[in-house]
Amino acid sequence: MKIKRLEILGFKSFQDKVSLEFNQAITSIVGPNGCGKSNVVDAIRWVMGEQSAKNLRGKAMEDIIFNGTEYRKPLGMAEVSLVFSTEDGRVPAKYLNFTEIQVTRRLYRDGESDYLINKIPCRLLDVAELFMDTGIGARAYSIIEQGKIGMILHAKPEERRFLIEEAA
């Protein structure tokens, strides 16, 4: 499966819907400090199932919902969709007749949370299974967050073994 598109709405600083096409080999995201680049990384981690707000720089998961600005009100929901193309055929059997697979995650301020695959509600377990079967899982060595590259060398040897474990 290849990533095709990322859609962000109400997630962190993305009040208005934003859609990023990822159909090229190398995509670069640029912009001034604080404009939202790392928030895109957080959005990808989140839609892939991140359960810890701390790993998204928040204190509570509610922190990832657009919180308003000096002039705009907060939103009541965050929604991120990751769309994959199935053209390389490496897809679980039940998705073989789809050209794309869309994984959506929503969070409401009251704490209610939804997962959808191709717009059909499902459980976190189904999303986790899909990512596991297709090898898309957010492995530690496929997402390097800002400032985290140094941790590999500063970590204790026992803390580093997970890198090999994830690839094994």
Partner: protein
């Protein structure tokens, strides 16, 4: 899984010994298991010798050397078991121009098999990209996207 851990370790180590000299323009590095007897709890040690320098504690390396070594390890694991995509957020920040050049060359090679999404403030890293997305906050606190398509 002990067997798989050891096999993966050896494959990654082999790759790491090739990748490191490419990024450092020479030198030598390898991985070592702290406890070969106990594969379930052994740690992973990194031994590094930049070109022309002596083998010393990894802690004495410079900020840029540490970052580039970590990148070499990450890329080695990635080449042994590629993910469909790789997300790198400002890993080039501590690197000088020469190292950024070699880093970008390697990203371009690896992008033949995986999609790379790279966040950067560096102009030469931007130049390697096929597509550039600019994120702006014309209105403070609200992110907007501007897409600049470089290549087709």
């Amino acid at each position: 899984t002990r067997k798989r851990f050891l096999e993966t370790f050896q494959l990654v180590n082999e790759k790491f010994q090739q990748i490191f000299p490419r990024l450092f323009c020479g030198g030598h590095a390898e991985l070592r298991l702290t406890d070969e007897e106990d594969l379930l709890t052994t740690g992973l040690e990194i031994v590094v010798q930049p070109p022309g320098k002596k083998l010393q504690n990894v802690s004495l390396l410079s900020g840029g050397e540490k970052a580039l070594t970590a990148v070499a390890l990450i890329f080695s694991i990635f080449l042994i078991k590629p993910s469909p995509f790789c997300l790198l957020d400002e890993v080039d920040a501590p690197l000088d121009d020469a190292n950024i050049g070699r880093f970008n060359e390697m990203v371009r090679e690896m992008s033949a098999n995986s999609q790379f999404i790279i966040i950067t403030h560096n102009r030469s890293t931007m130049a390697v990209a096929d597509t550039l997305y600019g994120v702006t906050m014309e209105e403070p606190g609200v992110s907007k996207l501007v897409s600049v398509r470089l290549n087709c």
